[in-house]
């Protein structure tokens, strides 16, 4: 037994320990060191976990059990302890999330000099990190709820961190009420499943699943609550407020936290319900949510004047791509022919889009943050001519904007291409909406680039200088990731995306990892 | 006999929850919420869950009420006279 089997527990408990100790770090230098150490350590742990899963297959870990893989104690047909279950999809999400978190953490180090109580920020940041990773490794419904609450409560505090700005408090309050309500209906769904099946483990419930009225009701509650947390369109109203008002490093982080909720939604739709849920209704609901998110998100983004608010609307529209890609996979789940025809391609596109979005959307928020750091505003009407003064930021922004718009040599195009072609098979309308969205995305980023970086330099921005080195390093991490993702799409598709998509589709192996071969 | 007491407690829970929403005076509403919490803790005891009953009585009825009253006191300051205090039109 190698020590690496403990990785699912370590990857959550190390940031938690970091958060608990960080309130004792009163010296700023020591605190910054601690911040960077724990961030790097957790990212390395997430990478090791991904590698372990890639080599050895699905990793199951029993919390507090007699042995780490003793899922069923003798004579029981149900698991009784909390079980962490990491398959290739979860490990992939954890890896992508931790890289984006590392970048936003490095970016935020200099930000900490400006606030009085930096170690509270550090503690909240680590807690949000732990919550996000916990969502991605857990295999237990109630534990999922607990991590959802950790992530939401930490993000309320982080969004309102500039407490002297009324808008920040307002955004945080709206998010808090919506999110608390949604977490409660998620808990009601968990209670319903517990009442019917007498267990809380996802795989055990999936094995015994007989879809009736109650199961459908629980499914509705799960889907709606997680769609709201990830910001799909009819429920997206909080997202531009929250992402626009949070500190920039936190906005970059909140993107990957939203994707963790998306992960939970796909996990429930594929691994818990899967083929037991007959009919295409669920798949079409997810696809329609995706279409609405794509279109309305981008069309609202075109008219925005605040850079971060505009990027937040783009975040909604990119979420739409993922929803549509994986929804198409869900549509093809019941027939293997459809799966090989378009479903698997669409899922590859959707999953590839998750890591792409984490990288370029994070980078865009970071550039907006450095604009704010340098000039004190993100209002595009008050900016202009910054290209000469902030060359690194301009370069990063150009790369990220090209990637998000899906300009060809960049990674955004690869995932979008996969989605276009597979959605065209189902119905041309889907592909048309996706393409129009892509064009409008390009248009709105041209607007940002033109009014923010190009044009004559303004008089009130004469003293602007490039941001400090640590911020540039934070942005550089994501920029390098974007360029390498664009340069070797083949390797990424073969080693990162395809195992994830295969594990997500394969419900039987998910169940078997916990319940043994009794399927 | 036990059943009647049980039903009476459940009914009182609903009534106090209703009053917590219905009262225009916020202090009355908070006290009503506190009463609801206490009754729910009693209900937990009837449903054979003393652990939860203690937690609900301590946290739900005690501390939650305390922080609600603190928030009320903060929002009733005289900085903006006549604004915000009991302004609670029913939709």
């Amino acid at each position: 037994m190698s020590w690496q089997v403990h990785l699912p527990a370590l990857v959550v408990s190390v940031p938690l320990l970091g958060a608990f100790i960080s309130i004792a770090m009163v010296k700023p230098r020591l605190r910054n060191l601690w911040f960077a150490t724990i961030l790097v350590a957790t990212t390395i742990l997430a990478f090791l976990m991904w590698r372990y899963v890639a080599i050895n297959g699905t990793l199951v870990y029993v919390m507090g059990g007699e042995r780490w893989n003793l899922t069923l104690p003798s004579g029981m047909t149900l698991p009784i302890r909390i079980i962490m279950e990491v398959d290739a999809f979860g490990a992939f999400m954890a890896l992508a999330g931790s890289i984006a978190t590392l970048a936003s953490g490095l970016f935020s180090v200099r930000f900490l000099d400006r606030v009085n109580d930096g170690n509270k920020f550090v503690a909240l940041f680590f807690l949000l990190f732990a919550g996000m990773l916990g969502l991605e490794v857990t295999g237990d419904f109630f534990n999922f709820f607990v991590f959802l609450e950790i992530a939401s409560v930490a993000s309320f505090g982080l969004i309102a961190f500039w407490r002297d700005r009324p808008e920040a408090i307002e955004a945080s309050f709206k998010y808090a009420v919506l999110s608390t309500f949604v977490a409660l209906i998620f808990l009601i769904g968990v209670g319903i499943l517990y009442g019917v099946y007498g267990t809380l483990n996802m795989a055990a419930i999936a094995k015994n699943m007989q879809v009736g009225f109650l199961e459908k009701l629980a499914l509705v509650l799960f889907i709606v609550s997680l769609a709201m947390k990830s910001g799909a369109v009819p429920l997206h109203m909080w997202e531009p407020d929250a992402y626009g008002q949070a500190p920039a490093g936190v906005s970059c982080f909140l993107v990957v936290v939203g994707q963790a909720s998306l992960y939970g939604m796909f996990r429930i739709a594929f691994s818990v319900y899967g083929q037991a849920f007959e009919g295409n209704v669920l798949a079409w609901v997810i696809i329609v949510l995706g279409l609405l998110s794509m279109f309305i998100g981008v069309i609202m983004a075109v008219i925005q004047k605040e850079a971060k608010r505009l990027m937040a609307y783009h975040c909604i529209s990119q979420t739409g791509y993922m929803l549509m890609g994986i929804g198409l996979g869900l549509l093809a789940l019941s027939s293997s022919q459809a799966m090989s025809e378009y479903g698997f391609t669409a899922m590859k596109g959707g999953i590839f889009h998750i890591i792409n979005n984490a990288m370029y959307k994070g980078l865009l928020f970071l550039t907006a943050g450095s604009l704010f750091y340098a000039t004190g505003t993100t209002n595009l009407n008050k900016l202009g001519g910054l290209a000469r003064k902030m060359p690194y930021t301009t370069f990063m922004f150009a790369v990220a904007a090209a990637a998000i718009a899906g300009l060809p040599p960049f990674n955004g195009f690869v995932s979008k291409l996969l989605i276009y072609e597979s959605s065209f098979v189902v119905h041309p309308f889907l592909a048309v909406v996706a393409m129009v969205t892509s064009i409008l995305t390009l248009a709105s980023f041209v607007k940002v680039f033109q009014s923010g970086f190009l044009g004559p330099s303004r008089d009130d921005l004469n003293n602007v200088r490039e941001v400090p080195l640590s911020m540039v390093v934070g942005m550089m991490v994501l920029c390098v990731m974007i360029i390498s993702l664009s340069m070797m799409p083949n390797w990424v598709l073969a080693n990162l995306i395809e195992p994830a998509a295969r594990d997500l589709v394969n419900q039987a192996s998910y169940i078997q990892a916990v319940m043994g071969s009794g399927l | 006999m036990m059943d009647i007491a049980h039903i009476a407690i459940l009914l009182m829970i609903v009534i106090s929850a209703f009053f917590a929403i219905w009262f225009d005076n916020l202090l009355n509403a908070v006290i009503s919420l506190c009463v609801m919490s206490l009754l729910i803790s009693l209900e937990f005891y009837i449903l054979q869950a003393p652990d939860v009953a203690i937690a609900e009585a301590g946290i739900g009825a005690g501390l939650t009420t305390a922080i609600y009253i603190m928030a009320l006191k903060a929002c009733r300051s005289s900085r903006w006279p006549g604004k915000g205090n009991d302004k609670n039109e029913r939709s």
Partner: protein, 115 residues
């Protein structure tokens, strides 16, 4: 016989709370309504685990052996209560700051972010 009246109470509490969140204008009222929904979920979980004639799941106090109410929902509810306190405290903190900045508790006037 009290046929599922506790479950109806859960439903009634949920309705009252959701009504308050939707149609009340005072933000402290909204926080109270969220607290009521929290109480209803707690009650729901406990009612889910009740077994007629069961005893307290504590051996020190159990009179009769091995006929106890289900203990897992109680553990879950314990967790949910503390989480509820945490979110309530944070909501009230945000409300206090909102009042400091906006000078009002009316939810219709707290709308600087729109469009």
């Amino acid at each position: 016989m009290i046929n599922n009246i506790p479950m109806l109470t859960v439903g009634a509490l949920f309705v009252i709370g959701l009504y308050g969140v939707l149609f009340k204008r005072n933000i402290i009222k909204i926080a109270i309504a969220v607290s009521i929904i929290e109480s209803s979920t707690n009650l729901f979980l406990i009612v889910l685990g009740y077994r007629t004639g069961g005893s307290i799941p504590v051996y020190t106090l159990a009179g009769e052996f091995k006929k106890m109410v289900l203990p897992t929902p109680q553990a879950l509810t314990l967790t949910a209560i503390v989480i509820g306190l945490a979110t309530t405290a944070l909501l009230l903190t945000l409300i206090m700051l909102l009042y400091k900045h906006y000078g009002t508790l009316d939810v219709h006037e707290i709308r600087r972010l729109r469009g």
